[in-house]
């Protein structure tokens, strides 16, 4: 009886997400980020397509970690010759460095725009285009209205938007589906071998629609994410409250 009830609830929940504009697959490719504990945090178990994801970072170190994390996500998105658009005002991204993440840098189109107004316009236009795998925008300030516009545009086309906010002045609510903060972690090689290991990040999901905030330590190795350990803060908090 109990099992049947939870089964019905799960099925209803799955039906609910597409109605809320959340898509999880695009042409059968699934973003391979969610596995194990990550599943808890995301609605319908996977990082959603047709959504704008927000990344907050302070300082160049975090920006680097965030662009690395995004590049790792792009690798999956751009697998079959997909094209991404990267919009920024001042860009230090090294095309040759993207190859290590399994991305073909010639498939990324960079737009260098100075005015925030132009950037938002270009972002919206690009997000409306369904033949683009992902759109990345480096915009420090994003108002609720403009974020909502972007989210509405992306829901129509079903691509993916990443907003990289470097040193944002105020972190108010935006219309983005998730908000992330990525910072780098010391790498570790097996058996204490010398040298620098695979990149490791602490990915904290600060906000998510229809899901629970969480924190993971992930390693990017051999073209795949690997979760090191998970501290699901939200779960712990709720447990504590209940206890």
């Amino acid at each position: 009886m109990q099992a049947a009830k939870s089964d019905i609830i799960a099925r209803l929940r799955q039906q609910l997400h597409p109605l809320q504009g959340v898509k999880t697959t695009l042409n059968g490719i699934e973003v391979a980020t969610a596995s194990g504990p990550q599943k808890i945090a995301f609605p319908n178990d996977l990082l959603s397509y047709g959504a704008v994801h927000e990344f907050v970072c302070n300082g160049s170190a975090e920006t680097t970690a965030t662009s690395g994390f995004i590049a790792a996500l792009l690798a999956t998105l751009m697998k079959n010759g997909g094209v991404a658009i990267w919009i920024s005002a001042k860009r230090n991204l090294f095309p040759t460095g993207l190859v290590n993440f399994g991305i073909l840098p010639e498939n990324i189109i960079f737009l260098d725009l100075q005015k925030t107004k132009d950037m938002l316009w270009a972002l919206e236009e690009a997000l409306k285009c369904s033949s683009i795998a992902a759109v990345i925008g480096e915009i420090p300030e994003l108002s609720f209205t403009s974020a909502r516009r972007l989210q509405l545009a992306v829901e129509q086309s079903g691509t993916m938007g990443f907003i990289l906010r470097n040193n944002p002045r105020n972190l108010t609510t935006t219309g983005c589906v998730t908000r992330w903060k990525i910072s780098s972690l010391p790498s570790n090689l097996e058996n204490g071998m010398p040298g620098v290991g695979f990149p490791r990040w602490n990915a904290s999901l600060l906000k998510t629609r229809n899901g629970k905030p969480a924190n993971w330590e992930v390693e990017w190795a051999a073209g795949k994410f690997r979760t090191l350990s998970s501290i699901n803060t939200a779960v712990i908090k709720t447990l504590k409250k209940a206890g």
Binding site: S60, T64, S67, G68, L93, G97, V99, N100, L111, V196
Partner: protein, 500 residues
């Protein structure tokens, strides 16, 4: 289709222009004169002066004796040519094919044009009216041949429309000068008492050829349409051009939008049938006051999708200043390329670089923000990091070489390496700590060195020894030492990039 030509004769071209410039000259006799063999000879005179007896060719002193208040102005030798050229360009609104007929005439190929004005009579009267408003007196005629139209404009003052098939009858009453002959031949006709063409035309052709030569017969045949005559259009004829004349001058933005849409539909339909796509197009608005407003667009790949092209024009339509109104719109495809029809893939949403959605998006962005802000990078055959990639502005260009993957490269590269202070234990070892922007980073792990030599055939300089290091917090950097270790205190270490 029957050809129809209009010729316009400006009997007072230069003097009319002087009157337009200086309206005070309108009611007084004045002549234009230029020096000839040490005396001033009249080259052009206005109507009042001609009636009073100051014909072109008269010496100014004689004319002054005849007309006491005669105003004499300096003639500008190249004025007539310039004026005709300008007037010819202005005439584009009446027909796409306009030529100059020196010294004071224009030839217009009006085939298929006059019905847009509601018939030939209205077409001619509109031209006459408009030129009168500008300040020019003209004589105008329309006929099946250039020769006939010219003859009618200059000599048949009572009729300006020669209906098709009427050339022969219309020609008979005209003098031989109507055939555009040379002076000595005309004098010969005069001497022989042949004052009208009907006296000449009835003679057998062999006689005429013997007496007056081939040239005369050629002129007769040209006037009658037995021989083709050509003229050089002022504006080269455009094959991929569409025109939209308006009955009433357009002043509203909506009107202009509709004009662009219609022209694009016409042009794109043609291009689609011929499997062509346009790369650049120019949209011209001919204003009532004679000015031309233009918008140019470009696409990154040949396109004949009129929805997309309209979007490109739409961004710039606000720049058009209609002023008193626009009477003609033209759209011309300047650069064309083959655009074979592509098979649409129903099952594939995310396309690669070849997808038309992408190129259309980039066209829109380029139209609004400028194409120099759009960049794409291809690998270059260099190990030197700054030269390992090159920008390209084409979407189609394929990489000529492979990206280097054998060594790890940072994800962020500083545009110029930044100086850092380091503490290194022994030469050729990675540093223990370094200071960058007043922050000390203690290095926990390091890889390297990887030596990259300066390419001496491009630039002089020392090699770099790169180290990939990680500090205690887990931040990863790309450092290098420039040149060999020297031991003195000079700054040799630089930060060049960040690893993710």
């Amino acid at each position: 289709m029957e050809k129809r030509f209009v010729t316009i004769w400006f009997p007072h071209l230069k003097t009319d222009w002087f009157v337009i410039k200086n309206p005070a000259l309108k009611s007084i006799p004045f002549v234009l004169a230029s020096p000839d063999h040490g005396r001033m000879v009249i080259t052009a005179a206005n109507e009042i002066a001609i009636i009073a007896g100051a014909n072109p060719g008269t010496v100014v002193a004689d004319a002054r004796a005849l007309i006491p208040g005669l105003q004499v102005l300096d003639d500008q030798p190249e004025l007539a040519g310039k004026l005709l050229k300008a007037l010819g360009k202005w005439f584009i609104r009446f027909s796409p094919c306009v030529g100059v007929d020196p010294p004071e005439g224009l030839i217009i190929d009006a085939t298929g044009c006059s019905h847009l004005w509601g018939g030939e009579a209205k077409y001619l009267s509109t031209i006459q009216e408009r030129l009168k408003q500008l300040g020019y007196t003209i004589r105008i005629a329309i006929a099946n041949t250039i020769g006939m139209a010219w003859a009618a404009a200059h000599f048949a003052h009572d009729r300006s429309i020669i209906e098709p098939g009427e050339q022969k009858t219309a020609m008979l009453s005209l003098p031989p000068a109507a055939l555009r002959l040379e002076m000595d031949m005309l004098e010969r006709f005069q001497k022989l008492g042949l004052y009208q063409l009907k006296d000449i035309v009835k003679m057998p052709a062999s006689v005429l050829r013997r007496r007056f030569g081939d040239y005369f017969l050629q002129r007769v045949n040209q006037a009658l349409g037995k021989e083709e005559e050509y003229f050089e259009p002022l504006v080269p004829f455009k094959i991929y051009q569409e025109r939209l004349p308006c009955l009433e001058p357009i002043v509203t933005a909506t009107g202009i939008e509709i004009a662009v849409q219609r022209l694009l539909e016409l042009l794109c339909h043609r291009l689609q049938q011929e499997e062509l796509g346009l790369r650049t197009a120019i949209f011209c608005c001919y204003r009532v006051d004679g000015k031309v407003e233009k918008i140019e667009i470009g696409t990154s790949r040949p396109s004949h999708n009129h929805f997309h092209l309209f979007k490109l024009f739409e961004n710039h339509l606000g720049q058009i200043e209609p002023a008193m109104g626009i009477e003609l719109f033209t759209l011309e495809a300047q650069k064309l390329e083959d655009a074979a029809p592509v098979q649409i893939k129903l099952w594939e949403n995310t396309g690669g670089l070849e997808h038309s959605d992408l190129s259309e998006l980039l066209d829109r962005i380029a139209g609004k923000i400028g194409s120099n802000n759009i960049k794409r990078y291809l690998p270059a055959e260099h190990y030197w990091p700054e030269r390992s990639y090159k920008p390209t502005d084409s979407l189609q260009e394929k990489p000529a070489t492979f990206w280097q993957t054998h060594k790890l490269r940072p994800i962020q590269l500083l545009p110029t390496p930044e100086k850092i202070e380091v503490t290194a234990p022994i030469p050729d070892y990675p540093p223990m700590l370094f200071r960058h922007k007043n922050e000390v980073h203690k290095i926990a792990k390091a890889d390297g060195p990887e030596r990259i030599e300066q390419e001496w055939w491009i630039e002089d300089g020392e090699h770099r020894d790169y180290y990939c290091v990680e500090d205690e917090k887990g931040q990863r950097f790309w450092l290098f030492r420039l040149g060999h270790y020297t031991g003195d205190k000079s700054h040799q270490w630089f930060l060049h990039g960040y690893f993710a």
